[in-house]
């Protein structure tokens, strides 16, 4: 169990250490990814393989779409971007 890691800490001398900054580079990438993988696995085990496949296809499609969207949107001037986005949402809300 690790209670102490990096980050700026001031020892007050009365038994307390006050943290002035939290270390957000915690070196926990592997641990957190392991936790995520474990949980996703647990959740997928309960689920229907066809649904999993559909989810994966949709997730990959959305990811590709987001990447494309980012490239297109970032190339537009700000006011044009707002107009395009508003029009896009209006279309999506037209049901």
């Amino acid at each position: 169990m690790s209670g102490e890691r990096k980050g700026e800490v001031v020892d007050r001398g009365d038994g307390f250490k006050i943290r002035k900054s939290v270390d957000f580079e915690t070196g926990m990438i592997q641990t957190q990814q392991e936790a995520l993988v474990k949980t996703m696995k647990r959740y997928e085990e309960r689920d229907n393989p066809l649904e999993q496949l559909a989810e994966n296809v949709v997730a990959k499609t959305i990811d590709a779409f987001l990447n494309l969207n980012e490239k297109i949107v970032s190339s537009l001037p700000a006011d044009t971007r707002l107009k395009v986005q508003k029009a896009w949402q209006d279309v999506m809300l037209a049901f």
């Binding site: 939290v22 580079e25 995520l36 959740y43 949709v58 987001l66 986005q85 949402q89 809300l93």
Partner: protein, 591 residues
Amino acid sequence: MYHIRGTEIEKQKYFRKTKSLCPECLQPIDAVVVEEDGPVSEKNKILMKKDCPTHGHFEDVISTNALYYKWTHYAEEGVFSFEKDGDANPPDNKTYDPRGCPYNCGLCPEHKSTCSLALIDITNRCNLKCNFCYANVEKSGILIEPSLDEVRKIMRHFRSKPIPAVAIMFTGGEPTVRKDFVDIVRMAKEEGFKEVLVATNGYGFQRKNGVGEKFAKDCWEAGLDTLYFQFDGIHDVTYEKTRGQKDFFSYKLRALDNCRKAGLDSIVLVPTVAKGVTDIEIGNILQFAMSNLDIIRGVTFQPVSLCGRVSFEELRELRFTNADLIREIDNQTGGVIAMETSWYPLTTIVEFGRIIAWLADVEPIEFTCYPDCGFATFMVLNPATGKMESILDYFDAVELVRYSNQFWRKLQAHKKPEFFSKALGGMGEAGQNVGLLLDRGLDWLDKNQLKLRFVAGMLPAIKRPGKLMEVFSKMLVNGKWEAVSAFIYGSLFIGSMHFQDAYNFDLDRSKRCIVHFGVWDPHEKKVIESPFCVMNTVIRGDIEKKVARPWKKAVEEWHSPEEAKQIIAENQAKGIPTQVAQNGGEEAKEQ
């Protein structure tokens, strides 16, 4: 960023009328919530002012940042608001008290939200004696411990509502002192609760010699999802102040380590934050959470609520508001979790959650509490940089709220397809069945096109793609509880829940409460359902007298006839024996 900066709203003084309570006699009185005198400034305080005809004038600080407060109360009709009414269940209480809410509680027709988190106090016995606790057998001299049958009745009350509670938390006292705790967890899953939590100081889990680990494993297998784990800091001296316990940090570490070994890997740290006592531990607690992300899913800070009577000066000294908390988090994280850019009220995701639940045909969990009740943020790992980042680096939350609100309004008016049922309805039973089947197919297609519309329309609210968005889109497509749970496992939730006391009690808040206690009333033969702060501020005393159990009978149940006789004889004159109050007598041997 508060998007009301530079607008007329920023320049206006905040003012709202509400109802509160007199802290002396607990009678309902009028109150105003106002910005303090002087020129408009974000540094102004928001105050609650009220006058009791008998006990005089009272003032309390509601927020120490006027701009943050005004922002959380700002609304654009139909497009944007943090104040949201829930789809409340029909009222339970048929009696009428002329004083009105909260004295008609149980619940009355004035309540505006359904219960999202059901609470059951399964005991008021506890191995600790914290001086600020509202529920302690030794302090009250009354033993409260519903039987298994009564616990089941309370669970069924919450699950049988038209909008059933999805999550349940066992509270106390210390719930794990009950020998049948694992059976109670199992019962909650049997009754259909999706998420089962326990508010614990870690007692059952910290026991040595494999006992705590086995207990954690038994709980996990029975269906316990999450520990709502009392955690005030990383210094022993902190626990001496808050819990009156020495060398207590190792107790906490032992409990967490046993959970880790047992595979119980969903723990939310719950620090009680008091000014000058635990506020200096905020950064330490967040660092501890970041360093133990394999089992810790979140931190819910709880600014202390003030039970009992305090002077005006003491009130000013002790009060710690949500704004104080997010300012302190900003200070102690070196500005990474910034006051102005990282936080949103819990109500932010109401429509978003409703849409996901509607599209997936599952029960929604609704956070339609008042904006003052709590706020939250998520930190997520960016695998490319190895840094934990705010989820708001990925989303524009204001845009997300606007779009979700508009989408939800459209969905509410959207009807299920009935084309084939109508067309084939006149062709007898066989025709009707075929029509229904074909309409189900149409409904499936319709829901999927709506899912795509929802995701596609959200694009302007998404700041950047990445692994997080992939997990997020799976959640959107699936919508099931497990998918939401998987999203939470990939991040760290940080939030606050500021419970009320008689000094800052605000009926606008209580009427929207989503965290409800259930208590079995053996005299009326029914469950009394009450919002958390109403229970603890107004009605707990009366209810506890009604449901108290004779401690001698409990001793006879928990011990052999000879032991029980001896314990009762030794404590006849003293009242509830310490060994009974703290753990039932036997568990102490295992510590």
